[in-house]
Every structure is written in C-alpha cells, then in structure tokens.
Symmetry: C2
Subunit: 505 residues, 2 copies
C-alpha cells in the first residue's frame, strides 16, 4: 500500500523532468556563469538540464542572482486574482470605475449577440453617464481564432487616439480577446507568437504593465474575469492554445447576476459544466511542490502551477456550489438564486483553476470541439455545428476521474461525497469508479448531455486523431495526476484509453 | 421565533441609519442637483439623510451619474487582495521581484529587533544579489503611533532621490508603517488626517496609484501583507485608528515560513489569537447587504463591508486551521508544520477580514491595550508594560460571542462545532453560551492567557473608561452583529455589559 502511494509521486517527478527537457528552452543555468558560485558543487547534470527556464527571453535576461536552483522541485506557490465586485445591478457602476481609473479613451469589446442585450446597454449607459469617451468593437468571434484576435488587435492599433483602458462585456471569448488586445497594444512591436504558450509559441513572460481592463461576464462559466489566461485557436497549428500570465489578469471583474439571466437552459448547463471541471480538475491537479523545475526567477512561475492550499479552498467551494446549484439553474429559468450562486461559483472556480490549472478533461476537450463535423447542441443558435466547450470537457470526465483517483484517493473520495456518494465502505482502489459513476449520474440528470463521445458523432476510429490533438496541450497535461510517462508512447496509450472508455456510458 | 429572527435585522438597519447620520458627511445626495432625475420622485427624506457619503472629498467630487441611490441598502460586495507567494525560502526571491517591478531606489522598513534577524539578512542579501539600490529605515515603532509614522514619512521624504518602491520586513507594525509611508510620499502635500478613518480623520478615498510595496511578514498574525489596512495610535485623540482603503494593499506578500521560526511560544499564541478572531469576527460580522448606505461611487465602498460569500470562504478556512494548529505551534517550537499552517492561516484570515471587517473584540481591544498600566506578557522583551494585541482581542471573546450568537445562530453553531463542541441538542438560544465556553476552554488550554480583564489588572471601576475608548471605533462597531442601537445610550450599555462579563471567567 505504501509503495503504491509512493510510486505515482516518483512517476510524476520523472514525467515533469521529461516534459521539461522536451518543452523548455535549451539548458542555460545561471550558476554556470558565476565563478565560485556557492551552490556550484552541488550542481549535477540533471539540474543543469532542468535549468532551462532561466535564460534569455525577448532579449531580457531573467537571471537567478540569489543562487536559486532551477533544477530542484518547486517550493513556493503564488496566488493572484483580479479584484471582483459582485452584486445584482453593479454593471451600472462601470462608468465611475473607468473615471476613477483616469480612463480617457476606452475600447469596449463585445460580440454581435451581446451587443444588443441588456448587459451591453447598461454598460454603455454607465459610460455615457460618466462622460467616458469610448469606441465599440462588436465583432469578437465566439471561440476566438488567432485571425479573429488579430483583427481586434488591428482595430485597436488603428485608432487615431490610443486606447488607455479596455472594457469587455461578454463571455470567455470576449474577455479573452480583450486581454490579448490589451497585451499587443502594450507591446505594439511584438510578434504574435512571442507570448503564446510554448511549445506552439515562445511563451515569453510579460513584464510591462498593461492598461486597465474591466471585464463584465455574461455567462457563468469561464471565470476569465479573474484569470490571466486567454484561449484561442491557432489556425496555423490547427490547435487550441492561448496566452497565460498573471500580468494579463483584468483589473476588475464586475459580476452582475442580472447579466446571466438571458442564458437559455443548455447554455447554463454547458457553461456550468466548465465551472464544475475547472473546480474538480484544479482540486485534483498535481501538487505545486511536485512540479519541476523550480523557476529561476519568480516572473517565470506559471499560473498553472498545480494544486495548492489557497486554490484548494476556492476549487472545493466552487465544486460544492456547482453540484448543488447547477441542476436548479438548468431546470428553472426563474431560479435566480441558483443562477446567482452559479455566477459566484464560476468566479470562485476561476480563482481556483487560475492559480492551479486544469488537466485531462480540458486537455482533451480542445480536439473534441475542434474535430466536430456535424454535432449541434440544443439552445445554441449559431450558423455552424458546435460542441459547446463545457460539453466537450464533461464528456471524458467519468473516465478521467476513474483514472486519476489512484494519484490521490482522499481528494477523489471527498469529491465523490460531494456528488452524493456514500464512500464509507469504499476502499481506495474503488473510489475512482465510484466518482466516475457519480459524475455520469450527474450528467444524466442534468439532461441534454451526449453521454459519451458517440453521442457527439465520434467513433473508435477517431480516437487517434483526438489523441494527436491533445498531445500539444503540454501546459495542462503536465498537471495531470497519475499519468505514467508524459511525453512518451505511454502517454499516448493513456490518452487513447481514456478516450475509448469515453465513447459511451 | 420568526419575530425574534426578524427583529435583529430591523435593529441592524436602524442602527446603521443612526451610525450614518452621526458619522458621515452632511447630506448631499447627487440626485438633488439633477433636474428631472428619473429617480427623483422615489426619493424620500430618509434616503436624503443617508446619501451622506456622496459629496466632496478633497476637492474631488464622487458623483453618482448612473442614478445610484445612496439611501438604499448595499447590494454588492468587492473583493481585493494582494498577490501572495508562499513557500519556505521564498524571501530570497525579493530582489528579483523588485528588479522585475523596475525598482531603482527602494526603502526597506523594519524594526530594531528584526533588523538583526535572518528574515532581514536574507532580504538584504537578495537585494544585493539583484543590484537593487536600497536604504534601510529600521526605526519602525512596534505598535506604531502617529508620531512614529510621521518620523518614517519624514525620513522617506528627505531622501535625496525619491523612493520608487518599498519593502517591509517585519510584523504588522512594520507593514502598516510602510503602507502609510507609501501613501504620504505619493501625496506629499496631503495633511496627515486626510486619509485617516473618519470620524477621527477625514477618511478621503485614495485615487492615485501608489508605488509598489512588497511585504515580508515575520509573524503569523496581522495578515497585513494582504490588506489595505494600517493601524496606529492617534496620540492627539488618545485612540487607536488607522487608514483603510483597497489602494493601500501591498503589491505582493511574500509569506516565508522560515521567517516565523524565531517567534517565542507566547508570541505565537498572541499573534495566533489575532488570527483566530480576525476569522471569527469577520465570519459573524453583519452581512454586507444589510449595510447602509449603498455608496454613491464604488471607490467609496469600504473594505470593511461586512461578511460576504467570498470573505466567508477565507474566514471559515482560517478559523478551522487556527483551532487545529495554533495549540501545536505554541506547545512545540519545532512543530514546523503547525507554524507553516499558522502563517497560511494568518494570510487567509487577512484576505477574509480585509474584505469583510472585524467587530467587537477588535473594537474593545484598543482601549484594553491602551489603558494598560503594568501588565507584562511572557516572552515579550520590551522596556514598557505591554498587553499584546491578540491577548487584548481574545480577552472579551467569550462574552462577545455569547452575545452576538442571537444575530446568526447558524454561524455561531458552526463555529462552536469547530471548537469541538457537539451542538446537536443545543437550541439556538443556547448556542452563544456554548461557543463562549468553547472559546474559554481553548484559551485556557493554550496557556498563558489572563482569563479575564482582572488578569490584566482591570477592575469594575475601569469599565467606563474602556467603553469610552471603544465608542470612537465606528468602523468596526458598525459591523457588530446584534447591537441594539449603535450610537445611543443602549450601545454604551451593551459594551459595558460585555466588558463586565469579561472581568473574570
């Protein structure tokens, strides 16, 4: 028993090591350049290999002058979140907020649907009332692509008077696009790939202070109003990727439950499933202090750093709230209490996963949504076939948590109890299956879910393609608990197994 | 029963109303100046009276252009916290942090004791390693006074080259002094009372962006590294007061468990008691949405806004951790796990109370510490008699929570359970007494506590003076649950009753 408990930890370390060698910059340990460096003698070849994250980034060197050893395991975690205001009707304060921030010229980003809805109208009325100069960009692409993001950046750069603040009114797509526009107007000469997550982009750290960004979410899902993460499709690589750095986080998230009242039931369901697995994946991600390498400079410490004692508090609370309130919010469009709790839950989960990370369900969701041919989900009135993000995240969850439970039976047992399962007489080895069953039951009772990849139109023949689409998601795969050998053939096998077990249930 | 439950809420509203009339600026509702204001007709005299917080502050007008009604109850809460880094040894990253922030000339504040201890030596080594220019001010006064704070401000203002960043290494006194120095070097022409909490000061909101401030706490108590609060003695008014605004919060708190290892047992105990009641007072403070008036401008929304769903998560977690780990941290100086949990608990409680507030124990603690004649607490090697802050907070707690329980029996029952009391068969009316007994038992077992005001040298004849010293603490008294008529003779009676019941137990 004790050996079984030790093994996953050793595996995790080995896995991280391989990840690092494969996906970071060439070895460049700062100690090597320092004569008589006090730690030099303790330095072994492995540490040298692992020292890769120190080095030159965009011409700026992030050295480790205090003798930090990058080859060692992580020893610290960092927690950062946007300020959050929460209350029904508080959208109308946004004009005063922008005035208080000294904004002179604001770019308001939204999408064509939201542009006509009350959240946007209230926000614009508030800007007018505070005499804020603003320009509206309402062509944000839902499920943004690099091309749509670049169009928004170009729009902002072409303004005759530079924008000094940004306001995003919408769901994750709008908020994420606004973050990226803020970034590339602050770094007008940067190449688009400079800040995109490695290995697809260069993953440079952000060191300039961005302009103020206020986010007003209109869905209870992404939690993007609290995080430094922005997700989009990189069309050239045919993959979902993004930009992730604490510096990207909004100045303020204005969470107004009045703004989520127009969501149809299945939009509640799928955005709520995103919240559910933000919470459960971040709570079960590898612990921060098993991650290697320790960064050479604190600016290089990733926001997706693994589970830690502060993210745990947020993630667990969000998990409890979602299991309790999501079914009510989906069932009854007039259950404002449940809707309000779901908006709060989305925000709490945002702080949780924004400071810990997500793993397998999210990693596999990207190719599941991306390879869709003809599936259309109820309540989504969009021109093309669409598997909503939350649906593609949830579909593998029963298999995923049955698989990951061995890495931390206690946490998975706690989660199973939250799903209403009595685990009193369930041995550790069986906790994962029980949790998987609890998730299946939850999805079934929620209604409208595909209950397996076959329900989305996938067959066994599609598994390999879905594995291929998952493998580049290193940033989340490296946080996956219980993976035997990330970066190797074994990882492929693990992913294929999870997808096969997700075909139908 | 239902009437009994309604009454406290009505009382709370009436109380807040009286508080407002008494302690805010003259009525000045923005709607009155707007012809044909859409809400004008709904406007009644009460709302007008309550509109006081709108108005002129330091020559700048915070109007309410969106038609917000300041006479109404609060409808939103706001959550803001410093970024936190947590990990043993992470003090040595601070030089890189300041370099990353672009700091050219840093003022390092500490006190004479800490100046010679490892936390300070490590921090200075880190600054040197990153080639940061710095100046040390090591004369921070423990339990700061306006005079000592002004001396620190004068030191900073007299620097030949202005400081562009601040580093605080120490306990709450050091961190609070650093916040105030940062404020008044950003506003060099301000009068010292401009930003001090009303009614003793003018309580102006802070609208300029302050310089970066990094805090490295060396005690597990104040949570000041996460909050926008700074406390000191206003000698001219013979009262504890402070400055509280979100803008004052540090940029980053570096919580390094290695830095709290040198605390003697009774310093662990009293700083841990501060954490305990940060958690329990903020969890039982009046709910944010019973506070009146709603602010006319979001910049006027107080950080001490009442309990809310996000502060609750932090406060409850900190309460559980403190009850579990504080006795271990006090008993065994080598129990590093318990010490580490207490540092984390202090930080979590800081986020909790920093976004909710504290109430009666803290309100009465100031005159209890301030009127001390000869009491000396073990392990505090200071020249003058001293009642440590946490001790003066804890001494009234058994009486306070027996009294406040009627305002929210469920939360007090939850707290009693955390203190190990089985409340299964305890009726609501008896929950307060049970919680009070649980706190007494906890204090007794912790050891070294006075077990009543008599143990600190006070007698029944001192009660009136202690009441007088508590009454100016409006900012915390207005959050006290279950007070019948704040601002009236009844409030005096309530406070006198609490102090009398705290004489010995």
């Amino acid at each position: 028993m004790s050996i079984a408990r030790v093994l996953p930890s050793l595996r995790t370390r080995a896995a991280s090591l391989l990840n690092t060698i494969q996906f970071t910059h060439p070895p460049n340990c700062p100690c090597h350049g320092v004569p008589n460096h006090p730690h030099h003698k303790q330095h072994n070849e492995m540490a040298s290999l692992l020292g890769g994250v120190a080095g030159k980034f965009g011409g700026r060197r992030f050295a480790s002058p205090a003798g930090l050893h990058t080859g060692e395991r992580e020893y610290a975690f960092e927690m950062a979140a946007s300020s959050i205001r929460f209350g029904p009707g508080c959208t109308r304060e946004v004009g005063m907020d922008l005035a208080n921030l000294g904004a002179q010229n604001v770019l308001v980003l939204t999408d064509p649907n939201i542009a006509e809805l009350p959240p946007m109208l209230t926000a614009i009325e508030a800007l007018e009332a505070s005499n804020i100069n603003y320009t509206i960009f309402k062509d944000v692409h839902v499920e943004p692509k690099d091309t749509s993001v670049k169009a928004a950046i170009a729009f902002a750069k072409n303004s005759p008077k530079p924008f000094d603040a940004f306001l995003a009114v919408g769901g994750g797509s709008v908020m994420d696009t606004a973050k990226i526009v803020n970034l590339y107007t602050t770094y007008p000469d940067a190449d688009f790939l400079d800040f995109v997550n490695a290995p697809l982009g260069k993953g440079l750290p952000i060191t300039k202070k961005l302009a103020p960004l206020i986010c007003i979410p209109t869905t209870s899902g992404t939690g993007s109003e609290t995080t430094g993460t922005a997700i989009f499709d990189l069309t050239t690589a045919k993959a979902k990727t993004g930009i992730a750095h604490r510096a990207l986080k909004p100045t303020l998230g204005i969470c107004d439950p009045l703004n989520t009242r127009t969501m149809p039931p299945q939009v509640h369901a799928s955005s709520g499933l995103d919240v559910l697995f933000h919470a459960l994946e971040s709570y079960t991600a590898i612990p921060y202090n098993t991650r290697t390498p320790r960064p050479a400079n604190p600016v290089l410490r990733p926001a997706y750093q693994g589970a830690n004692p502060i993210s745990d508090v947020f993630s667990l609370q969000a998990l409890k709230m979602t299991v309790k309130y999501l079914p009510r919010a989906v069932r009854d469009p007039d259950d404002y209490e449940a809707q309000e709790k779901m908006l709060l839950g989305a925000t709490l989960a945002g702080v949780g996963f924004g400071n810990a990370g997500v793993h397998l369900c999210h990693g596999m969701s990207y190719p599941i949504s991306g390879n869709n041919k003809s599936y259309r989900h109820a309540d989504y009135s969009v021109p093309n076939p669409l598997i909503p993000h939350g649906v593609s995240v949830a579909v593998t969850a029963p298999a995923v948590f049955a698989f990951t439970a061995a890495s931390n039976p206690d946490r998975h047992r706690e989660a199973a109890e939250i799903f209403g399962i009595d685990t009193t007489n369930v041995p550790d080895e069986a906790v994962g299956e029980k949790l998987g069953e609890g998730i299946k039951k939850f999805l079934g009772e929620l209604g409208g879910q595909p209950m397996g990849l076959k329900g989305l139109g996938y067959t066994r023949g599609d598994v390999e393609r879905l594995v291929e689409g998952t493998l580049p998601q290193r940033r989340v795969l490296m946080l996956a608990p219980g993976m035997k050998e990330p970066g190797t053939e074994r990882e492929r096998e693990d992913l294929a197994g999870l997808l096969e077990r997700s075909l139908e249930y």
